[in-house]
């Protein structure tokens, strides 16, 4: 392992703004040791244990009908949640970032609220509304509509926990870009929608991607909230994380880790795309800065 002797700032070997070499090596070793132990080791463990019984057992575990139906339900849930929260995120960011009004910071706090609610509580509140003993329970039962312990409940709870992702990414980004470009477009005769799609959207597209990726990762991986509302019916109301739990509790560890490895792969893809999006956002911002 090599530690650069000089800092980027170019203060060559100046003792004043850097630590002695042995301190640098020590801090680096402790930090990397901690990260390997707490992040890399568990990540590696997922894949090693998934392939514990060989490739054939791995593929067989993924081809189980219950697993396939869990994959399908997870994709369906994400396909419902991401678009509604994407639309909300863009609309909310437009109102909050491009206009000033009283109560703005309260609104931002309220949008962030689902992040500070325990996943279990996020599921519970929908049981209280749509469950048999809940507000709408008797009415729903009379009309033979099932929400709790069925797919709609899973989608609703997932929409709740993924609610802030797109909005909280776009609000600061759009605020930093101001509204000069949109005003110019409107003055030149563009319509509102034209302005949004031709001027605003190209500026925020990487921010949108960033929000969508994180929203999707959480939607596919949510466990606590979904666990409360799902009812755990095999082959019908189990998402991938719930299927992992069932397999693990049945001591079919290799199968549990095989299914879990799908989610771990999703996490890795998420991290890569997120890093690319972050890099592009930085690029867009610094380009805009240099043009000013």
């Amino acid at each position: 392992m090599q530690v650069a002797k000089h800092h980027k700032s170019g203060v060559k070997g100046s003792r004043s703004t850097t630590e002695p070499a042995w301190v640098r090596y020590l801090l680096l070793a402790v930090a990397l040791g901690f990260l390997s132990l707490f992040l890399l080791l568990p990540l590696a463990a997922v894949f090693v244990q998934a392939l514990d019984k060989g490739w054939e057992a791995y593929l067989a575990a993924l081809k189980e009908p219950d697993t396939l139906s869990a994959i399908w339900l997870t994709v369906l849930t994400a396909a419902c949640c991401v678009p509604v929260n994407l639309f909300f995120g863009i609309v909310a960011a437009w109102a909050i970032a491009k206009f000033s009004f009283p109560g703005k910071s309260l609104l931002i706090t309220l949008i962030d609220l689902p992040f500070s609610v325990s996943p279990v509580v996020s599921g519970l509140i929908y049981v209280l509304i749509f469950g048999l003993q809940g507000w709408l329970g008797p009415w729903l039962q009379a009309h033979d509509i099932k929400i709790i312990f069925a797919v709609p409940g899973i989608v609703l709870a997932t929409v709740f926990v993924t609610f802030p992702f797109v909005a909280r990414e776009l609000i600061p980004l759009m605020e930093s870009q101001g509204r000069d470009e949109e005003e110019a477009a409107l003055t030149l005769g563009a319509s509102g929608l034209q302005t949004f799609f031709r001027v605003t959207f190209p500026n925020i597209k990487w921010g949108v991607l960033y929000g969508v990726i994180l929203c999707n990762a959480r939607a596919m991986g949510e466990f606590g909230a979904v666990s409360v509302v799902s009812g755990h019916v095999r082959g019908s109301t189990n998402t991938i994380p719930l299927q992992v739990e069932i397999l693990y509790n049945e001591y079919s560890y290799a199968a549990a880790f095989a299914v879990a490895s799908l989610l771990a792969l999703l996490a890795l893809v998420t991290l890569v795309l997120k890093t690319v999006a972050e890099w592009k956002i930085q690029q867009t911002l610094s380009e805009a800065e240099s043009e000013r």
Binding site: M1, L124, I125, I129, G131, L186, F223
Partner: protein, 276 residues
């Protein structure tokens, strides 16, 4: 000032955009959350107190908050160290490590849970070396803390990292020119500037750990009075159709997380004022 600003603003769509934002926020977040308080309000004060202060419930608070506090302290220390190393030093693979810090955000909690449980189990990769020394991690409160450290780490790193990046190196140079040792510079100049960010990251990690469920239940062992966390107790009550009990405990947790959120916001305001 706000209305004047709006008059000068030629951009269209303010009213429908704000209207939709408030509408969607209400039906997805605010009304469902209010259900919790209305349900709790149907309990008498005595019923509520009994539900939230039964010995098993009190023990779960102790386990949850105790482990969260320890985990947030550990994250506070190592998170700052990781942020420092990522901002100040150059080493091969830095970009990959930087991206991997967010793994706990991206990895579904159930996956983290079963993996940590298997790594720290008595025959696991790490458990087999800890067990002979009498250190039991999996299926004890220590395991709960390990899971909380895992999920909380990015919060501290990601709040401290940008503040460290913004630090003006010239101030450090000035300090050393004026005769400060490196340690004095770190202790007197860098640390006070970064402190609000450290506290914010600490509070965020703590808040996340208190509500966490998925990554903990697999490694916790879930023994009532010993290693049972509060979110699990809510689910247990629900499965026993004790809706009132579950709701009362959930209300306590929700109020506590609101208070945490409030203090985090205050901390951030404080640090912004500090920065100016």
């Amino acid at each position: 000032m706000g209305s004047q600003n709006r008059k000068n603003n030629v951009l269209p769509g303010f009213t429908p955009a704000l209207g939709y934002t408030i509408f969607y926020l209400s039906i997805i977040v605010l009304i469902p959350l209010s259900a919790l308080f209305f349900k709790t309000a149907t309990l008498t004060w005595d019923q509520f107190l009994v539900a939230v202060s039964a010995p098993r419930v009190l023990a779960s608070y102790r386990v949850t908050f105790g482990a969260s506090l320890m985990a947030a302290l550990i994250n506070g220390f190592f998170g700052v160290l990781v942020a420092w190393v990522l901002v100040r030093y150059r080493f091969p693979g830095k970009k990959v490590i930087d991206a991997l810090v967010d793994l706990p955000f991206a990895l579904p909690t159930a996956v983290a849970g079963i993996t940590l449980a298997s790594v720290y189990a008595p025959n696991g990769w790490l458990g087999r070396y800890l067990e002979p020394h009498g250190i039991k991690v999996a299926f004890t409160p220590l395991g709960i803390m390990v899971a909380m450290v895992f999920i909380g780490l990015p919060f501290v790193v990601r709040t401290v990292q940008p503040v460290l990046e913004e630090l003006d190196r010239e101030i450090e140079e000035a300090a050393s020119c004026l005769g400060a040792s490196r340690w004095q510079t770190i202790y007197r100049i860098i640390f006070p500037t970064v402190l609000p960010a450290i506290l914010t990251g600490f509070a965020l990690a703590f808040a996340r750990a208190v509500g966490e469920y998925g990554s903990i239940i697999f490694i916790a062992g879930n023994m009532p009075m010993v290693s049972e966390i509060t979110p699990l107790l809510i689910i247990t009550k629900l499965e026993q159709y004790d809706y009132a009990g579950a709701t009362a405990i959930a209300t306590v947790m929700l109020v506590l997380s609101f208070l945490l959120l409030l203090s985090i916001n205050l901390l951030q305001k404080l640090s912004r004022r500090f920065a100016e």
